[in-house]
Amino acid sequence: MIPLRKKALLLQLFAALLVLSGCGDEKILERLGFIHTAGYELVPAENSGEPDKLRVTIAVPKADPEGKIKRETMTAVVATSKEARIELSRQTELSLVSGQLRSTLFGAALARKGIGEHIDTFVRDPAISQRVKITVVNGNVQHLLNKRYAEHPRPGQYIDRMLDKEAEAMMIPNVTLYDFTRDYYDDGIDAVAPIIREKGKDITIDGIALFQGDRYVARIDPDDSLIFAILRQNFKRGEMSINLNSLGYGKEKLLFSSMVSSRKIKVNRGENGGLSVQIRMLVKGSVLEYVGDLKIGEEEDRHKLEKRIAEYLTSNAQKMIDAMQRHKADSIGIGKHVRNSMSYTEWKSTNWDELYPNIEVRCSTEVVIKNFGKFM
């Protein structure tokens, strides 16, 4: 047996070793700059013949309690995103770390060109979380991040919280690095991302960007975003205002809220082997605001209204799918269902990107008004 004193000494030695070995990777909180938001955009080389450059802007919240400055933004114009880190770190007294990165913004022009290489860097770096948000910015990213929004928190946090909140209400899809890479590599669905832009003294949601591979190819208007949500996934919470005017029902308007939606995609085979896809949507919700000549307290009228809402949703969904097919962006994942209706060899011999724009997709909607408030 080792005597007790010797044992204690050994233990102390071990403890010292344990503590000291951390010194090599010492990190002092006050000296770290936690990048919260990183923005990437294209700086076109105007007629100079050189290749386009990349402008990287980062927002770093300051941890210093005495300092009046609560944030710092830095910008670097570089040839590749890998250089940006070194260039940015030259501008600050803090060591920049990306462990707390929450959101990344891509300028629309860059997104059109493709963001694959950036995504690759993000997934490779073990410091970067799978929950980092991917967002497209319509407009100048640097300006968006540099600006002071008097009535809102600092831009990074402002954007992050707004995206969270809007995603919860299904107004935009919640797109994190995980979601984006998953759909990017899946052969049966294409990735999407929310779009934001500056609007006066605020930042606002500007729709949904549809990707084909890593390129941004089409946009969905914010007014249609709930229809997109219905097509893309099942959800339990949503709200949309519907203007039945477009269907020729006079001046009828309503707010359809507390929506619960589920959709089924069915793949059918024609006699000649051709594919057709049937999307069935079931939407339940309550109508708390209605302007029009129907009496929603009466059952007959309510059923009429359900039919009209269904008609509205179907026609808009159909238009949206036609547009997606035109842009070859399978953003709602029809490919997954087609793939799952086939054998492996059949799927492998199908060129889905070529087939997708040409298949017939039909939508149908069933709407149920669960309640209409506490007044007849």
């Binding site: 344990l18 070995s21 707390q100 073990p126 890479t181 590599y185």
Partner: protein, 358 residues
């Protein structure tokens, strides 16, 4: 001390903790790469092979009537055959232990301590292992049981992934795509390795059928854990993505977000230290048992410290993570050969002896 026995429950946990380890981090990818779509199902078959192997070991236990494997071997093999064999097995087991350790610390270095020397991290793991191994198998088993309870809550993490799990992503294809069945089976099978150390437990367990059943249950527990994790990965990630992820489980961990904290993956990864230390300790202990048999007069502490020091320097050789992976692969193959070969040889010896006596 002599009265103490390993209870079946402890044997189960011992088996499970020896089998599982850092391999879990990359297992879903290896399955996707080698078995194609729905590759997780291959685990069922491979677990069956492990169960068969355990059955062979149980035959040794039954035929030998609980004699230790050393007693069985020494019944008929001359020393000049035995000692090289002993040394070989002791070496392989000790090196397996230390490369497993190196693998763990290398990943740890990549995610948390980028500039700290790997071997410094490894020394710390080795010190833990040393203190564990010198206490003997009863205390190891008790420690491993508490380690098990410390890590068992991690199953709850799996609930995080239900929301983004999608059946459509699993696809109806089975084992299609680019596949390498033979190579894949061999490398995935190494993740089941560890149960063969039950060969050395014969003298320490309660006599009876329950012992081998406990090893089988331990193997089942491992299988179940692997299947759940890999199944979730196949429905949580898209197939092509899974093939590109080096450590799908690390990414799973970084996905977790609690209302008050995000990025707890480093913390969670530290919990893998428990299962890793268990694996290392068991292999070093097994190696020590053999050396002890060869040099009965040597002190356990001296043997353990010498083994750990010797393999420490061996662990210095592979430097990069791919290199370590390659070493682990070949060690795994050799361990598999030992796991099948050793009990078969023992059965042969027992049968020959039985006939000779008749």
């Amino acid at each position: 001390m002599a009265k103490e026995k390993l209870y079946p429950f402890h044997v189960t946990i011992l088996t499970y903790m020896t089998q599982t380890g850092v391999v879990m981090l990359s297992l879903p990818r290896i399955l996707a790469e080698n078995f194609g779509y729905n590759g997780w199902m291959a685990l069922i078959g491979l677990s069956g092979i492990a169960a068969l192997n355990i059955f062979i070991i149980s035959l040794v236990y039954r035929l030998g009537k609980g004699k230790s494997i050393f007693q069985i071997m020494e019944m008929s093999l001359p020393k000049f055959v035995l000692y090289p064999l002993y040394s070989f097995i002791a070496c392989i087991w000790a090196v397996t232990g230390c490369i497993v350790a190196k693998n763990y610390v290398s990943i740890f270095q990549m995610i948390s301590f980028n500039t700290t020397h790997v071997m410094l991290l490894k020394i710390m793991v080795d010190i833990l292992v040393y203190f564990l191994v010198i206490k003997g198998i009863y205390n190891i088993s008790k420690a491993l049981t508490s380690f098990y309870w410390v890590t068992s809550w991690m199953y709850l993490i799996l609930f995080f992934y239900f929301k983004d799990f999608e059946w459509a992503r699993m696809t109806p294809f089975f084992f299609s795509g680019e596949t390498h069945f033979v190579e894949g089976s061999m490398s995935v099978f190494t993740s089941f390795i560890g149960y063969e150390l039950s060969l050395l437990l014969f003298p320490y367990v309660e006599k009876g059928k329950k012992f081998m059943r406990a090893v089988q249950i331990g193997n089942l527990l491992t299988t179940l854990t692997y299947i759940i994790i890999c199944f979730i990965c196949f429905g949580f990630y898209s197939f092509e993505q899974l093939k590109l992820m080096v450590y799908p489980m690390l990414d799973l961990l970084s996905y977790i977000k609690l209302p008050f904290i995000e990025r707890i993956d480093n913390l969670l990864f530290a919990f893998f230290l428990f299962t890793t230390v268990s694996t290392i300790a068991m292999y070093i202990w097994a190696s020590q048992e053999i050396v002890k048999r060869m040099i009965p007069k040597a002190k356990v502490k001296v043997i353990v410290i010498l083994i750990i020091m010797a393999v420490f320097f061996i662990a210095w050789i592979p430097d990069t993570i791919p290199e370590i992976g390659e070493w682990l692969q070949y060690l795994g193959y050799t361990d598999t050969v030992i796991a099948f070969g050793l009990p078969l040889m023992l059965i042969a010896i027992l049968l020959v002896n039985k006939r000779a006596r008749q």
